[in-house]
Every structure is written in C-alpha cells, then in structure tokens.
Symmetry: C2
Subunit: 301 residues, 2 copies
C-alpha cells in the first residue's frame, strides 16, 4: 500500500470543541487515521496529523476544508501566526510505500476538487508547484489576505485551481507535497518580540542562517512570552539539536535565556535519535543500539 | 510468552574469531536470539546481548560458560576492566511478559548447572541474591582473583552454587537478576588515568554522586586514552543526559574535555527519548510525538 501523511493547519486554535468537530470530518472518513492534534490559542491555529492511502485521505481533507469554510470566518480572525485560509495549508508527505509522485498527485486531486466545487482559490506549493520554481507557503502568507486579494484582482497572482478571487470567509488554501519536516516552537524567557524576531532572522536559511530552517519570531499574548517558531525542512542536513543550540546561543547573545520548546505534530524517530546522539556525544547511537528496534526487526528463529 | 534478556560479559575482547566462536555457542541454541556483541580490546572484554524464553536462554548460557572455561585461561588475562571469571557476569533482565521472579529463577537454574556440572563457583547477585543484602558485582570484583581465592579458602566467602575454590582457568561467575541498565564509556581528551578516576569517584553513587550510577576510571593502553566507564542502573531516576553532562563538567573542572562516548550493548528507546527531551528542552517529546510509534501502535480502522 502507498501511505501518505497529511498535516492540515486549521485557523482555529481557541475553541476546542470546534477543533474537535472539524477534526472529526477528517477522521470520520474510513481509511483515515488521525494521529495528532496540536492546538495553540495564541497562534490561533491547530495542526492535524493524519495518515491514509491517497484516495480516502483526499476525501477526508476535502470534507475538512468544506466544513472549515462554513465554520471559520477569516475576516474575524486574529492569531499570532500568519495565515491566508480557514484551512491555511495542507502538505502531503510520502510515507512507507509511497513516492513523492503520489503526494504530488494527491495535492493536485485535492486542489482541483476544492477549487472547482468549493470555489476556494488553491495555490500549489513545494514539490506540487506546477512551474519550475518551487513555491513556499511563507512567501504567499507574507502578502497577507488583503495583499493576496489585490494581487489576484490585478492579475499578478493566479491560483492553480479555483476562482481568481478569495473565498469570502475561507480565503485561499495552500496545498503542497514535501518530505517530512519538524515543526517546533521555542519559548524565550522574555516578552520582547524584537529578540524573537532577531533570533529567527539569525537562524533561518532565507537570511543566511542554517540550511533548511524557516523561522518566525512571534509574541504570545495570553502568555506574555516571545517565541521562535521553527520549521526544520531537512533534519538530516541540519540536526534538531544544532537548531536548538543555535537558538539558545543567539538568544543568549541578546541577553535572553530560552525556556523550553514544544513539538508541533509528530517527529520521525530518526530525527530524535540523531539529536540524542549529538547531545550525548554518542555517535554510535544508531537504531541498531536500540533494544526495541531488535525486538521489532529481528525475525523469530 | 515470558521473554528474558541476558547480557553475559566474556573475558575476551581481542581475538575476534574466538569471540565469534564463543558467541556461536549461545546463538546456536534454538530459541535464543543474539542481538549484539560489543568487544573492547583494552577492556579485554565482550558484552553479548541475547534474548529468549528462560529455558533455551539458560541452556545457551550454560553452553557459553562451558566453552569459555575451555577457551579462556584467566591466569594469562590482562585487561583494563576488572573481572573474576572467563564469563565474568551474567545478568538476567525481565522483558515483555516476564516478571523479576522469572529472571531470579533463571539465575538460580543456570547457577545450579554451572556449579554442579562445570565445577565453577557461582555467586548470585542483584535481585537473585539469596540473603537480604543485595550483592553487587563490583564488590566481588574488587577482591580480585587472588583475594577471592583466599576468602574462599578461609571460609569467609561461600559460593551459592559449586565448589568453594576457584576454577583453575575460569575463576568464578557472577549470575544475577536486575532491571535494565545502560552501560556506556566516555573517552577523555587525556591520557591521565587520575582524572578518569577522580571523575568516576565524583559521579558514582557509592561515593556520594548520582543515584544509580556506577563508574570506574580506566586507561586504554592501545589508544593512550583515559576513560570513564559507566553503568547507569536506574535511567528513569538519573537520566543519561544528566550523567553525560556531569561527566563533562567534572572533567572540565580538572582541565580536561570529553571526546565522545560509546554505548555498550543496547539501550531502551525510553532512555534515548528522555535524553533527547532533556537535551533539546522539549519536555513533551514523549512516545506519542514519534511518528513511527503511531504507525506501529494505532490499530487499522
């Protein structure tokens, strides 16, 4: 079987019962397994992690986007995390048995349904980008909803599916295909948003930082804390440990200690193992050193 | 099924083909799975990790001890790691489905066979100690072979099984039952054995250090390096990360940096996960955050 993971990000992180209702439209699809829901009230965002074969996963995500368009009105939305859609972004990730081509195909199939039937403009990104240039969600979000509306109006921006105007309540949706990434937030012992922004700038690839790192400095109103929110796109190139250490040293250089971090969604085992090997200076800490790996892997004799 | 792990330590770490031959006497027993062999030429010691149900595991270990008594002559043995037997120590650890009582029973059954049929004195330790005081291998090894021979002669020490004199070539064997421990070595960027000994003293429980930590300072002749050799007996009480950080700080206080460490045998996944959570300051890094954990655990729907 060809298994895909999908990590839809919902623009609702405060009303837990609404998140549960929306998540149920995805998990209610036979063949879809919802593995995790990470909600953040300050981001006003929930990250859902689901797996399934391509067909049921696309059907479940269609149901989720339709329900979110009815339940969420972006015109009355204010969260620390930037967004352009009620369901802001839907990445497909190939898991066991699947190739990137399967993820790209799923992105196109979902995009076509959402654009044609729900009349929400769809922008494809990552490996699913139609043109030669790989589109990045952050670049589209940086336009903001008003900027995106204007660019669509002026014909400077064209959706890959759906109408050339934003949906009244649901905005747009970014649908993509990519390899696994690690999403995590690091809390600073400070309420100074400028420090979080400076640290984010120092570590992110776009501004000359670490390879495969995307980062934003955010302020968490309910907790009066500044936060560095990170996507680590290529954890085999830049390790999770290296990113955390760099955040700590960049913050320290600005007189701020880091408090603790939080994982958003799920992490592959290999990423954790590599981080532990580095932090413990135990380079041989590979899967073959893990007891359970043998218990699972070794055939009975 | 009731599964036990056994981690016999062989007093041979230099002759790889002899280690292979001896290991084959254990893995050749149907129902025994040999998961790992970690040999160290300076310690002149090999640590074997095997699992199986109690009966075949005891039979395989009996074959190993018999073969080692014929192949290894302790009178011509010089290794950095202290030892009292050709097979120096055999701990049994309860795994899935097994209770500590199963491990204790296996220790007794193996001890009786080895004592009666191979005429090697057997000392039971850990949870398998017959009396109220839990015996510790390090206390017996500290006697040395000569000291042990004298104590047996004088009647100050009595084996739990077998004769009251050492076996001519194989010495004695320590057989025990315990929970999982993590064995690892940390190499110092120094050849100064005194530093390794001072660090070992500072971190081990016996001398007022960290709970559940046993440590020795050793000198690795072939590599001209000092090493701190550690057993972490209760990794849920003192984390692997805490021990490594403490070794680094104790060494640094003596002007020495640590190089890298090495795991001996296998480590449970939970120990690695906890170390990563601490090192990365991601306290929520629990099994439910690991993608593969869900892929394995969640039932298909």
């Amino acid at each position: 079987v060809s298994l895909l993971e999908a990590v839809p990000n919902l623009s609702e992180g405060r009303d837990a019962s609404r998140v549960r209702e929306l998540a149920a439209t995805l998990s209610g699809e036979p063949g879809v397994r919802l593995l995790d829901v990470s909600s953040d009230p300050d981001h006003h965002r929930s990250v859902l992690t689901a797996i399934g074969e391509p067909a049921p996963l696309v059907d479940g995500l269609y149901a989720l986007i339709r329900a979110a368009a009815a339940a969420i009105d972006l015109r009355h939305h204010a969260g620390a995390h930037p967004r352009v859609g009620a369901v802001d972004v839907v990445p497909f990730v190939p898991l066991g048995g699947a190739a990137m081509g399967d993820a790209v195909e799923a992105a196109h199939r979902l995009g076509r349904s959402v654009g044609d039937r729900l009349e929400i403009p769809v922008f494809l990104y990552g490996e699913a980008t139609p043109g030669p240039e790989r589109r990045v969600p952050a670049d589209l979000r940086r336009l903001g909803l008003a900027g995106m509306a204007a660019a669509l109006e002026a014909g400077e921006l064209r959706p890959d599916y759906g109408p050339s105007r934003l949906h009244a309540t649901a905005g747009a949706v970014l649908i993509g295909a990519r390899t696994f990434l690690v999403a995590f937030n690091v809390w600073l012992r400070s309420a100074d948003l400028r420090v979080a922004r400076a640290v984010a700038r120092a570590i992110r690839e776009r501004d000359g930082g670490l390879p495969g790192v995307q980062a934003l400095g955010l302020f968490l109103e309910s907790r009066s804390r500044a936060q560095v929110s990170v996507n680590l796109l290529r954890p085999d190139q830049t390790s999770l440990h290296a990113v955390v250490e760099r955040i700590a040293s960049e913050a320290r250089a600005r007189g701020v200690e880091i408090d603790r971090g939080e994982i958003v969604g799920l992490v592959p085992e290999s990423v954790v193992l590599r981080a532990a090997a580095e932090a413990l200076r135990l380079p041989e800490l590979t899967p073959s050193r893990i007891l359970e790996w043998h218990l699972r892997a070794a055939p009975e004799k």
